[in-house]
């Protein structure tokens, strides 16, 4: 995907176009409103369309031009009426110039209202570039707190945006906004979680910005392509990749210490590799509208998608597992023993529009219940934060499974039900008791997730363990705590409780509990842990104080090795809309 820049940089756009055509690829050209007044740009675009099959879409990265003097760059950040006014002018101009409506549009982000207006004014629209995966807090920091694009919590792959929150995959046709959306770029699914996702993406100059290249040697660009290709194995033979490099990235710019020829060489190698894969029949190139139509024909609404991420820049050996469907997006951090590092409870269908006339203002992200990078995760300073884990107790000692490094062993995905099994990890107590743990997750289509913990090879088959399934959460969209009033925690058992979250720092316990839950109005979700092994020994609820503002749900199981040192517990983590 290309978008022109007017003035001296226009020659770079033409070089980009010449390059893709020379190597046998086609492009989608996104023209800005101001470009539509430039006869040369329009004539060139029509020639590209005629000669190479390129598509001419609409770019909303710069909204200004005649009659739109101070429209800026960000359609989702305007007042509702202004969104409509701007889009009307731009869409009408496109019709005037080309005698037809545009079938695709690109923006860094669309909120629910701007996408709805776009689709109403341009019903021909099939597909949009609709969001920047996990662009938010870290990019805000990295850009000197000046890049106010809060776009976290979306799918990494193309999706059907919902009407009420464009970053949430629609549950069904009535919930869908009527377009297919693709991410602005494909991101590194390990490093996009750990740090600045704008460094590690399908965009060679971004890698230069992150200093992941050694001058014009950067195998990472090709490695990322291949990692996305690898995902075909668990997604029904399907994978998606794109690139969207603006002209300004291929000349002197403030994000690179190299002269432009380095960016050009890496960009060329990257595209050459895609062209080579095309010649081998391993990938197909499509314009955005072609892709939107293909997606609608081949990828049904509601389908579960998974991604097995293998970190490949630091050489850490880390694995992450992602899954997304209309009910949730979940990240499993295998290096932390299979803890959930990120949980977006889509089932709550939180509606979000942005703009000065909304309560969300510029925060377009889909809210989380767990985000371990923004909200502490495992303890290393004062206390732990948002995460899940298994606590393995014996006598006075407790081993936190997040200290047991696993990898992903197997991934399954039928399209409705997905699963992941981690490699076995061994644990050892100070008293010499040893054993092995295997964690697996089964993601059911209704938003429920089965978590199985298999214990085996206990060195003392008669030893007794306490296994605690632990969920610590906090609703939010950024790294700063938000108001948790209104949350209610409850559990059953011998001393059933229902308590308001009031930052009291209290813990409540109930023997024989089989269900602990939190009602979280901020995410319009109820999260519950339910024992599938009969009543647990103990259930507990914890209301965190202001210095550790989290709610904690725990089920404590008594485990004995059945005389042979083996056994398992299954806990269902259910997400329900409230």
């Amino acid at each position: 995907m290309h978008r022109p820049t007017q003035g001296p940089l226009y020659s770079i756009f033409k070089q980009q176009q010449d390059l893709v055509h020379r190597i046998g690829l086609k492009a989608t050209i996104f023209l800005h409103y101001r470009d539509l007044f430039d006869e040369t740009i329009v004539a060139d675009a029509l020639r590209y369309e005629r000669e190479f099959g390129d598509e001419i879409g609409l770019a909303l990265h710069d909204l200004s031009g005649p009659g739109l003097v101070e429209a800026g760059h960000f359609i989702w950040l305007h007042y509702l009426d202004r969104k409509r006014e701007i889009l009307q002018i731009i869409i009408e101009k496109y019709r005037d110039v080309f005698g037809r409506g545009t079938t695709s549009a690109a923006s860094y982000h669309f909120d629910a209202s701007s996408l709805q207006i776009l689709k109403t004014l341009a019903p021909e629209i099939q597909a949009v570039v609709g969001g920047c995966f996990e662009e938010g807090v870290r990019v805000f920091h990295g850009c000197n707190h000046s890049w106010h694009l809060f776009n976290e919590g979306m799918p990494w792959n193309p999706w059907y945006p919902s009407r009420s929150h464009t970053l949430r995959p629609a549950a069904d046709e009535t919930d869908a906004a009527g377009v297919v959306a693709v991410p602005h770029l494909m991101r590194d699914m390990s490093l996009a979680y750990e740090g600045r996702n704008d460094f590690w993406a399908s965009h060679p100059p971004n890698i230069i910005r992150g200093m992941g290249n050694d001058a014009s040697f950067c195998p990472y660009d090709l490695n990322l392509i291949d990692q996305f290709r690898m995902q075909e194995e668990w997604n029904d033979g399907y994978s998606y990749y794109n690139t969207f490099v603006g002209s300004s990235w291929l000349t002197w710019n403030h994000n690179s210490e190299y002269p432009p020829e380095v960016a050009w060489e890496l960009y060329t190698k990257f595209l050459n590799y895609l062209a080579e894969l095309k010649r081998q029949g391993k990938v197909h190139d499509m314009t955005l509208t072609e892709y939107g139509c293909w997606h609608r024909k081949h990828r049904s609404i509601g389908r579960a998608e998974v991604y097995w991420a293998k970190e490949m820049l630091y050489g850490s050996g880390k694995h992450y597992f992602w899954m997304a469907d209309p009910n949730r997006r979940i990240l499993i951090d295998s290096t932390q023993g299979g803890s959930i590092g990120d949980l977006r409870p889509y089932v709550g269908r939180v509606p979000v529009t942005t703009g000065p006339d909304t309560s969300h203002r510029q925060i377009g992200s889909y809210p989380f219940l767990i985000q371990s990078q923004h909200r502490t995760g495992s303890a290393h300073h004062y206390a732990d934060g948002a995460r899940t884990t298994l606590l393995i107790g014996n006598g006075e000692e407790t081993i936190d499974a997040c200290t047991l490094r696993a990898k992903v062993d197997r991934v399954t995905n039928t399209g409705s039900e997905a699963g992941v099994v981690l490699t076995p990890v061994s644990f050892r107590f100070a008293n010499g008791l040893e054993g092995e743990l295997i964690t697996s997750y089964t993601f059911l289509p209704n938003g429920n997730t089965k978590i199985e913990r298999i214990i085996s090879k206990l060195s003392n088959p008669d030893a007794e363990l306490t296994l605690t399934e632990y969920f610590k959460g906090a609703p939010g969209t950024t790294e700063y705590p938000e108001d948790m009033h209104g949350i209610r925690l409850s559990m059953d058992g011998a001393a059933p409780q229902e308590v308001e979250f009031n930052y009291s720092g209290e813990t409540f316990e109930s023997h024989g509990s089989s269900r602990v839950s939190a009602f979280v109005p901020q995410t319009r979700t109820c999260i519950e842990l339910v024992s599938e092994n009969g009543p647990a020994k103990l259930g507990s609820l914890c209301i965190g104080p202001l210095f550790s503002p989290y709610f904690t749900l725990s089920l404590h199981y008594k485990f004995n090795g059945n005389g042979n040192g083996n056994g398992s517990i299954i806990t269902c983590m259910n997400l329900k809309s409230i």
Partner: protein
């Protein structure tokens, strides 16, 4: 501005960058560069050496991992 001048002017602060923050440095008369956000000040050769240090964490920066190799990772 000449191309050569642009070449040495565009550099981000290596201290801020080591914290994942992009901050463009400004250039002093003495050919040193200074950060507007932190107290770092240094010459180009020093800055580029610090960039190299930052890159040391990327142990696989020059490693090509084919599809088959990634399957085995």
């Amino acid at each position: 501005m000449h191309e050569s001048e642009k070449y040495i002017t565009i550099m981000r602060c290596p201290v801020c960058f080591s914290r994942d923050t992009d901050v463009l440095m400004l250039r002093e008369e003495s050919c040193r560069h200074y950060c507007t956000k932190c107290s770092f000040r240094g010459e180009e050769s020093e800055v580029r050496g610090m960039y190299r240090d930052i890159q040391k964490k990327f142990h696989w920066m020059t490693k090509r991992l084919t599809l088959e190799e990634q399957r085995k990772l």
